[in-house]
């Protein structure tokens, strides 16, 4: 535990959020099991027979975690991560989300080149003459490996179309 609590996020918030999320999933599972039937049909157990109990167990375990956390709310000072650490995680997570978004628009090769280039400029402080060859070379290698060697097509965008690949 750190003495300076203002620089850290406590565990209790994320703990509660995850437990609530699991409880919500459990409720979704239980409702839909009830919809498809948890009983017995002519040919055996209905589709909701097994998932219903799974949902109940998930609800029970996540509910237990949730209640336990609420009971110890005021007294729990355990640290989740420092603000600096969260900042570092967000610094990877945001480019990652953007990258996946860009795959939809630009295809995987161009998006990958942008991701690698961004990381090397931003976090590695590389000069363009080092970063560019890596950023372009790695997607090219994957292109050769997947499209040519394994014959597995990957998502492509307008640039590839324009090049007629």
């Amino acid at each position: 535990m750190s003495n300076d609590r203002s620089t850290a996020i406590r565990t209790r918030g994320p703990e509660l959020t995850v437990a609530a999320l699991l409880l919500a999933i459990a409720l979704l599972v239980i409702t839909d099991s009830l919809r498809v039937g948890i009983g017995w049909a002519d040919d055996g157990p209905r589709a909701g027979y097994f998932p219903f109990y799974i949902g109940l167990l998930l609800a029970a375990s996540s509910g237990w975690i949730l209640l336990g956390q609420l009971r110890r709310w005021a007294s729990s000072h355990e640290e989740f991560a420092t603000h600096k650490q969260i900042g570092l995680v967000v610094a990877v997570l945001v480019p990652m989300v953007l990258y996946v978004g860009l795959i939809f628009v630009l295809g995987i090769y161009l998006a990958s080149a942008l991701l690698i280039g961004f990381f090397m400029f931003k976090h590695g402080k590389y000069k363009a003459k080092v970063a560019l060859p890596v950023a372009i070379g790695v997607p090219l290698f994957f292109y050769a490996a997947f499209e040519r060697w394994f014959l597995v097509p990957l998502p492509k965008g307008p640039i590839e179309q324009w090049l007629g690949l």
Binding site: T11, P14, E15, V18, L22, I25, L28, V29, D32, S33, V36, A41, D43, G44, P45, R46, A47, G48, Y49, F50, P51, I54, G55, L57, L58, S61, S62, W64, I65, G68, Q69, R71, R72, F80, A81, Q85, I86, L88, V89, A91, V92, L93, P95, M96, I103, I108, S112, L115, F118, F119, M120, G124, V134, F142, F146, F150, V152, P153, L154, P155
Partner: protein
């Protein structure tokens, strides 16, 4: 000895030129995966699995299992030279391995680690060779009730034995089962829990979950630590190898003890990571010089490496004979078998002799190949680790995205991979275990099918689970495992009667 002739036949299957080539490729890829942060045995194999769909199943599993051995070997390199465990099971290796490297004994530490890995794996493969056919013959008599009981025992022992809070283990496991149930019910054809979303029709693929939970999550965790690689360089001369071999076999008792711990933890789903810690702790406890541990004691390298490799290898025994994997990586291999149209379980030993014995023979060969490869190529791997994280991280993200996409050629899976990555990060930070989640996701359909078949046989009466001595004792054991944490809870609350009855998250 029927096993020996079967094994000889297996060597005939495995010892073809292409298969030996696949072994070398597998081991090399595996060491690479083991060395790089963010790629491990489980998600490495998950990413490569789609590329093997068109291969002959025997060659494919030889290559994939060799990736697994390679990853087990590779974890030791980063632990010893860089004080960074490439894999969770090599954390215990850093305790004495890194101090040895600091004292200039990196070559000895690496040789000891690789040799111990090899010895641990060899004993585990011997165990598989002679025990698996016996177990398979025995389980041929199993009905659906027995199968469900064994699956229940697997999951119950997670709750009973894991060091994470039992409520969280249960929650992670049930999340896995819930996700496995999404999509079309294979028996009645009813759509479950899709809530009208067409993407959910095919359900959640465990390969996507593994890539997100282990790959993306690991990148986030590594980034959080903001680590910089600063390592020792190493070259292994053949003299150092001979000298170390001369020295370490004095510790044959450590080898035997660690192998026993590893095999036990691998067959029961304890896994390689707890096995390595247990074995390290045991070696220190029985040592005449416990104060030397943590300062570069060679036994502190031998014990965890032997146990981790023995556990990692013997995790394949329940996978092959019962269809129940002992570790997440074994679970991914099991998923591969299902995709190639092979049903794991006792019938595999009757119907797919070539496959099973080819695989077992390849375990012997793969580990020999592995030992040779790692002993000769250590400097290269150390060089790879000098590539900064700002280059490695985006490349691994790209590899994960490609891996997730190729499973079904669906972009939805790539998005899902990110979601699983964030979930994995939260789970790791909040001490929810990931292994039961993955295992439940893989086994969910099989567990449900055997439960429903058992219920059909008994017309819905649960009494089928204690209808004979065999199924009754397995269920009894499972119950014992399940209630084990409750017993600890009762004892603790009896000790301090003053309150805090919700004693789960400690």
């Amino acid at each position: 000895m029927e096993e020996l002739s079967n094994l000889a036949h297996g060597f005939g299957v495995a010892l073809t030129l292409p298969n030996i080539g696949f072994m070398f490729i597998g081991i090399t890829l595996g060491v690479l995966i083991g060395v790089l942060p963010g790629l491990g045995g489980a998600n490495g194999i998950a990413i490569l699995l789609p590329l093997t769909f068109s291969m002959n199943p025997t060659s494919a599993i030889i290559m994939l299992s060799c990736i697994y051995w390679g990853a087990l070997f590779g974890g030791a390199i980063t632990s010893i030279l860089f004080n960074i465990p490439g894999e969770p099971w090599s954390v215990a290796t850093t305790f004495d391995g890194y101090p040895m490297a600091q004292q200039g004994k990196a070559a000895q530490a690496l040789t000891a680690a690789f040799t111990s890995s090899f010895v641990g794996a060899l004993f585990a493969v011997l165990l598989i060779t002679f025990l698996a056919p016996v177990l398979a013959r025995f389980t041929l008599k199993f009905g659906p009730a027995e199968f469900f009981a064994v699956q229940m025992l697997t999951f119950a022992s997670f709750v009973g034995m894991s060091k994470e809070p039992p409520a969280k283990t249960l929650a992670a496991m049930m999340l896995g089962f819930s996700l496995a149930a999404v999509g079309m019910d294979s028996v009645t054809g009813t759509l479950r829990m899709t809530y009208g979303q067409p993407e959910l029709l095919k359900g959640f693929d465990f390969l996507i979950a593994v890539i997100g939970l282990f790959g993306i999550c690991e990148i986030l965790l590594t980034m959080e630590e903001g680590l910089a690689f600063k390592g020792k360089s190493a070259r292994i001369s053949s003299r150092a190898v001979w000298d170390t071999w001369g020295e370490i076999f004095k510790y044959w008792k450590t080898f035997l003890r660690s192998t026993a711990i590893g095999c036990w933890m691998g067959i029961t789903p304890g896994g390689a990571t707890p096995a390595s810690f247990m074995s390290y702790g045991m070696a220190r406890r029985v040592s005449r010089h416990p104060e030397r541990f943590g300062k570069g004691e060679i036994q502190g390298v031998i014990a965890p490496e032997t146990a981790a490799h023995a556990a990692g290898t013997s995790a394949l025994l329940p996978m092959l004979t019962l269809g129940i994997p002992g570790s997440p990586t074994a679970a991914v291999l099991l998923g591969g078998l299902l995709i190639w149209g092979l049903q794991p379980g006792p019938m595999l030993f009757v119907e797919q002799k070539d496959f099973v014995w080819g695989l077992i023979a390849s375990m012997y060969l793969g580990n020999i190949v592995g030992l040779i490869v790692v002993l000769t190529t250590v400097p290269w791997w150390a060089a790879i680790l000098r590539i900064p994280f700002s280059v490695i991280a985006p490349v691994i993200i790209v590899i994960c995205a490609i891996g997730a996409y190729t499973v079904h050629s669906a972009m939805f899976d790539v998005v899902l991979m990110l979601v699983f990555g964030v979930l994995g990060y939260l789970f790791k930070k909040l001490k929810y275990p990931l292994a039961p989640l993955v295992l439940a996701l893989v086994l969910g359909d099989m567990a449900e099918a055997s439960f429903r078949q058992a219920m059909l046989l008994s017309q819905g009466s649960l009494s089928i689970f204690w209808s004979n001595g065999l199924v009754g004792s397995i269920v009894g054991l499972a119950m014992l495992m399940l209630l084990w944490p409750l017993w600890g809870l009762l004892r603790r609350s009896a000790l301090r009667r003053d309150g805090g009855a919700f004693g789960e998250a400690d």
